[in-house]
């Protein structure tokens, strides 16, 4: 197995005059759970469709297992499964029939795995799809995908429509895939989910990758939230570069600080005598909001 499962370089794709992708890069290594984060309309689904050979990129290059996803679609699809963001099924079939048919189209169903997943996701397979809720349709597609024994799993906003309990089951199953050495690309805007299961993330905005790396590395680049009480009054806070969101009442200081300015701040604080100090890394939500609020490049 090659080290890199997905390699997309400078992908561009427009629909009419509206650009959907504008220089998107994505690298997914074998055996990792990769989070693909971005707001609605940022190009996540378009990227997945290009990787699946359903769309052709206007420019740039996409490689899946080292091959061209458009030309080698059938051979590549034997090695992967995909769950689309909005799952539409055939209303006349039951959930169980759908599971079997989707499984057989991919080359077979593991009976034990099927039974086990139906139980874990608490699905009634004898009901017609037309009577399923959105969450239940989602479950059918997820069970069909998780029951498949393949190298790569592509999920487009998979827990959208699932209740928190079922979303947790999905997270656990994803962990198991990682433990088994499978590769997962998880497109999402549910940050806690990505936070919980992903090794690395790529953040995409307006069709362009704005950041990629380990979550811990990304956080390292980010500001730290600080709440501190000092013995003496602080002066000259404005002179410290990289200090933001300052809220100081003469005793307690709340602020955020960029990583490279942390040392300056601490020197300044200790001179005033630190009484108590509380600091925490930014949540993914805070990181996320920061990227999205940034003006387009």
């Amino acid at each position: 197995m090659p080290d890199t499962v997905i390699e997309a370089t400078s992908l561009a794709k427009s629909f009419g005059s509206a650009p959907a992708l504008d220089g998107l890069n994505l690298t997914v290594r074998a055996g990792e759970v990769h989070g693909f984060l971005g707001p609605n309309g940022s190009g996540k689904t378009t990227t997945l469709r290009i990787l699946l050979g359903m769309l052709r990129a206007d420019s740039g290059e996409a490689r899946l297992f080292g091959s061209d996803p458009w030309a080698e679609a059938v051979a590549l699809h034997r090695r992967l499964v995909y769950v689309p963001g909005e799952v539409a099924l055939w209303p006349a079939l039951t959930g169980g029939e759908t599971l079997d048919i989707l499984g057989r189209l991919r080359g077979g169903v593991d009976g034990n795995r099927r039974v086990q997943l139906i139980e874990r996701f608490d699905l009634d397979p004898t009901k017609k799809v037309s009577s399923y809720s959105k969450g239940n349709r989602q479950k059918v597609a997820l069970i069909a995908a998780l029951a498949a024994d393949v190298e790569l799993y592509l999920f487009d906003e998979p827990t959208d429509g699932l209740d928190p309990l079922m979303a947790e089951v999905f997270r656990e199953e994803t962990m198991l895939l990682r433990d088994a050495g499978r590769t997962v690309l998880l497109s999402s805007h549910v940050l806690s989910e990505v936070d919980a299961v992903c090794d690395r993330v790529s953040i995409v905005r307006a069709g362009r990758t704005v950041e990629t790396g380990r979550l811990s590395d990304l956080r390292h680049l980010q500001r730290l939230a600080i709440v501190v009480q000092t013995a003496h009054e602080l002066h000259g806070l404005e002179d410290i570069p990289g200090l933001h969101d300052i809220d100081y009442d003469g005793s307690i200081l709340r602020c955020t600080v960029e990583a490279e300015s942390l040392n300056d701040l601490m020197t300044h604080l200790s001179a005033a005598g630190i009484v108590s100090l509380e600091s925490r890394p930014p949540t993914l939500e805070e990181m996320f909001l920061r990227y999205y609020n940034r003006a387009p490049a």
């Binding site: 769309l55 909005e86 079939l93 169980g96 029939e97 004898t126 037309s130 009577s131």
Partner: protein, 550 residues
């Protein structure tokens, strides 16, 4: 997030008091008009223009009173044609002939169109989930159905207003024009009521369309049988087709039949409203039974899947066409009988139809009709691929190790094979029932079957059109319906509208040999088959090159 959504929905809905079941309906009607801004004028204006064209053709076709009396005399002896079109009440007036020629056909078209429109704006929304957004607003429980029925009835009414004004302007007579237009519009309203009920019983829009189509077919056959078979003439009173014909537009109108139509439509709609207000949103009165928990072993690929999905739909069409074929066969037998006992008619037919046997030429007309029906089935089936692509059904299959052409071959093959089976069985039923009536079951059954097979290449060309567009330009696939409508127009009304031979040559059906009855010609059969094959092949090649439509 999900919890909030549903909680909000229930909350808002419960603030609407049950006393206001129609709250929000006017907004929904405007929404429906916006969605149908092209369909509505397209159907109504086209058909109104067509009825004016029919009305203006009589002076050219039958200029003298004598020629019109001759026509009426001939018609009186032809139970098969009378069955389908109804009796002619006043052959001397332009209006009377127009009403005779078009009332049944128009009710058939508007009955289908309006009931599909009702389903499109009711059950289809519940199936796809938009109704939840709607019901979550300050909208009454009956408002969605009310808006759907209203828009369905508007189709007939708009047609009625245009046709009545145009015909009056032509000078055919105000009261006749009013009765003619109103009886079609109100008859269509009855089928809106049928569709409104069907939408309460069926769970899917396809099921609701099938159910209302079935009722339309049964009522049509009832009136056809009643019209064609004097001993069963009471049957026409069970059918809106009978009511519309018996309104006798332009021939001493019976206005009270319009009241009957309105009352029946009103009762059906009121019943549907009651049911709609009692049931849950998205639920149906036919409760969902538990189904299989495993798929049958034979469903292994996209083709098998397409057969699994299409089989009940196909079965419905086959049963319907076979029943219609059997009824037509009986009527054909009595029709041939009448004509052969009338020396003047035999002479007339010999002069018109050449050497062919009378029964054969009727056979050709009827299998031609079934071929159009089969084409409709085929087109609707190929179009399922389009709705798979616009939802994510296609994506899930495309992401499996299957080529696109393999995926598309599923519904394309059920369309071609299914339409061929449909045509063949209808022809067989027609021939067999004619054979039973004339004492030659085996021979006539085979003849009916063969006559139906002769029509197949033209049906294949029609099904090849959306198959080609699937690859080349999927957004235009519905153009298959326009081509079918054109073929119906040219085939059924071409002669009366004075369309040129060129026009009839644009329909693949215009090239078919009139076998049996006339010489069998193989060349057009082969060419049409090749055209269909090339169309499908080009579609397949283009399919491999294009993106998933977004």
């Amino acid at each position: 997030m999900t919890l909030n959504d549903s909680a909000l929905g229930t909350d808002t809905a419960s603030t609407v008091r049950p006393r206001a079941p129609f709250a929000g309906m006017s907004v929904l009607i405007r929404l429906a008009l916006r969605r149908d801004r092209i369909r509505l004028p397209a159907w109504t204006v086209t058909l109104a223009v067509l009825s004016v064209s029919i009305a203006s053709s009589w002076d050219r076709l039958y200029p003298t009173a004598q020629s019109r009396l001759d026509l009426a005399h001939t018609l009186a002896l032809d139970p098969a044609l009378t069955a389908i079109l109804g009796p002619v009440f006043d052959p001397l007036s332009t209006g009377g002939l127009t009403a005779w020629r078009s009332v049944a056909g128009y009710l058939l078209v508007f009955g289908l169109v309006s009931s599909f429109v009702v389903v499109r704006h009711t059950r289809a929304l519940e199936q796809e989930g938009q109704s939840e957004i709607i019901a979550g607003g300050a909208v009454g429980r009956a408002a969605l159905l009310g808006a759907g029925v209203t828009i369905g009835c508007i189709y007939g009414l708009v047609f009625g207003v245009i046709a009545a004004s145009a015909l009056t302007a032509m000078g055919v007579g105000l009261s006749g024009a009013l009765a003619y237009s109103a009886t079609i519009a109100f008859g269509a309203a009855v089928y809106c009521g049928v569709a409104a009920l069907a939408a309460q019983f069926a769970r899917t829009s396809r099921g609701a369309n099938g159910l209302s189509g079935l009722v339309l077919g049964i009522t049509f056959v009832l009136s056809a049988y009643g019209n064609g078979e004097p001993s069963a003439s009471a049957l026409i009173w069970l059918s809106p087709f009978g009511w519309a014909e018996q309104t006798r537009a332009f021939a001493d109108e019976r206005w009270w039949l319009l009241v009957l139509e309105i009352v029946v439509a009103g009762v059906l709609i009121a019943l549907a409203m009651r049911l709609a207000q009692r049931r849950d949103l998205g639920a149906s009165l036919v409760s969902a039974r538990a189904g299989r928990d495993r798929a049958r072993a034979w469903i292994r690929g996209p083709i098998a899947l397409a057969w699994r999905l299409d089989r009940s739909w196909l079965l419905g069409w086959v049963v319907g066409s076979a029943a219609l074929g059997a009824v037509e066969g009986v009527l054909l037998a009595s029709s041939v009988d009448t004509v052969q006992n009338n020396p003047a008619m035999v002479k007339l037919i010999a002069r018109l139809g050449g050497s062919g046997i009378l029964a054969d030429s009727f056979l050709v007309v009827m299998v031609g009709m079934f071929a159009l029906v089969a084409s409709g089935y085929g087109i609707s089936t190929v179009l399922r691929l389009r709705s798979d692509e616009t939802s994510t059904r296609a994506e899930q299959l495309w992401s499996a190790p299957i080529t696109r052409v393999h995926w598309a071959s599923g519904h394309v093959s059920t369309a071609f094979v299914g339409a061929s089976i449909l045509s063949a069985i209808a022809g067989l039923a027609l021939g067999a029932s004619y054979g039973v009536a004339t004492g030659d079951l085996g021979g006539m059954a085979v003849r009916g079957l063969l006559a139906a097979l002769v029509q197949l290449p033209a049906t294949w060309v029609l099904i090849a059109i959306p198959s080609l567009l699937l690859g080349v330009r999927p957004a235009w696939m519905s153009a298959g319906w326009i081509v079918l409508a054109w073929c119906v127009l040219v085939g059924w009304f071409g002669a009366i509208l004075g369309l040129s031979d060129w026009a009839s040559s644009t329909s693949p059906f215009g090239h078919l040999p009139s076998w049996p009855g006339q010489q069998m010609r193989w060349l057009p059969e082969i060419i049409l088959t090749l055209v269909a094959m090339v169309g499908v092949a080009v579609g397949a090649v283009a399919m491999r090159r294009r993106d998933l439509p977004s």
